[in-house]
Amino acid sequence: MVAFCGWDMPVEYAGITREHVAVRQSAGLFDVSHMGELEVAGKDALAAVQMLCSNDAARLQPGQAQYTALLTEQGTFVDDLVLYRLRSDHFLLVVNAANVVQDYNAIAERLTGYGDVVVMDASSRYALLSVQGPAAGRIVQPLTGVDLSAVEHYTFAHGEFANVRGTISRTGYTGEDGFEIFVPPQQADRVWQALMQSGGDDLEPCGLGARDTLRLEAGLRLYGSDIDLTTTALEAGLGWIVDWNKPDFVGAAALRAQKATGVSRKLAGFELLEPGIARQGCDVYVKGSTAGKVTSGTQTPTLKKSIGMAYLPASSTSEGSEFEVDIRGRRVRARVVPMPFYKRGNGEPRVASPEK
């Protein structure tokens, strides 16, 4: 167990590789109750969310969700989050555990004098269990009357799960199909047990370690590592969650300016061409000069490669560009590869060919 943002969380149960492979091949169960939940409600809730978040919330019908971000005026990340439209005038923001207070304060400040809207920290009302992997639907369906085949990617529904009332969304952080189930904390244990029983040998309890290797393979950014208050949405390659046509939002002006001039650095995916793991904080060298830092890195259990993400000068981020990473004093060669490193459902994982 490790301390994580005030929570005691398991790094692993049976082992990171075993848990990781289970999610890719059958299913894994994660207790992600540490995630924060903020609610924004009121007659002006949509306008408020449009002002607060980078993506276009008006595209959401009640029952739909989207990946979006809270930005600073500079276009850097206060947080990245999943926005759920519960009702036309009621939104749920699922945010990073470490950022609940930062997010709440930023939102509350921006809503000062705003109109008919309120923000609430509802984190203590929700436990969150995540079932991820190709077998997820088969495992969850027997426990609920909700027809999961009707719950499409990035939509959600309310119902009962192991006789516990809650909400299920087809979302996750692993690159696999999967479901996240919001239930009251007092009853989370019962739902966990029911899921484990339903899953049998096909369901492996998973910890933070596998969550990190899975999300990294899927090219998903991690707040605090790949994105933070110093990196903009464009530098992070998350321009796709910025809607340029919607009403103005916090950070829009800075991002428009950056888009016009072009970014000087970009988050790139890479693989190592020599053994080792390039971990967060390792210095990156392009043509012998220090040029950035690794933000995430691991040996991937699925691809059996050492992969990672790093901020590089934009001119050095084209596919196949080579650079070096300093791993404890050893210069290791690396090469830019497209993200995601792993993509489900199209046969072979998408990676560049290995070079010996």
């Binding site: 082992g15 370690g209 080792g276 971990r279 404890r328």
Partner: protein, 124 residues
């Protein structure tokens, strides 16, 4: 886990298997469990001199990087190529997966190491 009585152990969770004037060095079952899936080991070349208690390499799992500490002083005479190419064998059979072999320069050091029951108590 059974800690073989033929091996000597350190508080840093390495083992030493002495035969004549040479000894093989590995990490214990306790150490591999703490590390989890081992994916990389960095070991000294043959001929390198190592000193008791000092780092002689690193072992890396998905979860963490850990220094390897020399149980005895000596000169490296052999490096286990299998462990270098398939680091996961350390998880499978830690007490058989030696990392390096050294010629002991201070054989008395080995006698002062923990025996299996002392080490077993340490990690209980």
């Amino acid at each position: 886990m059974n800690y073989p009585s033929t091996l000597k152990y350190t508080k840093d969770h390495e083992w030493l298997d002495v035969a004549g004037d040479t000894g093989r060095i590995g990490i214990t079952d306790y150490a591999q469990k703490q590390l989890g899936d081992v994916v990389y080991v960095e070991l000294p070349a043959v001929g390198t001199k190592i000193t008791q208690g000092q780092s002689f390499g690193t072992i890396e799992s998905v979860k963490a990087v850990s220094e390897l500490f020399a149980p005895v002083s000596g000169e490296v005479v052999d490096v286990n190529a299998t462990v270098k190419s398939k680091p996961e064998v350390v998880n499978g059979d830690p007490h058989a997966s030696w990392l390096i072999a050294v010629r002991l320069t201070k054989p008395d050091e080995a006698r002062a190491l923990l025996d299996a029951s002392q080490y077993g108590d340490l990690v209980k």
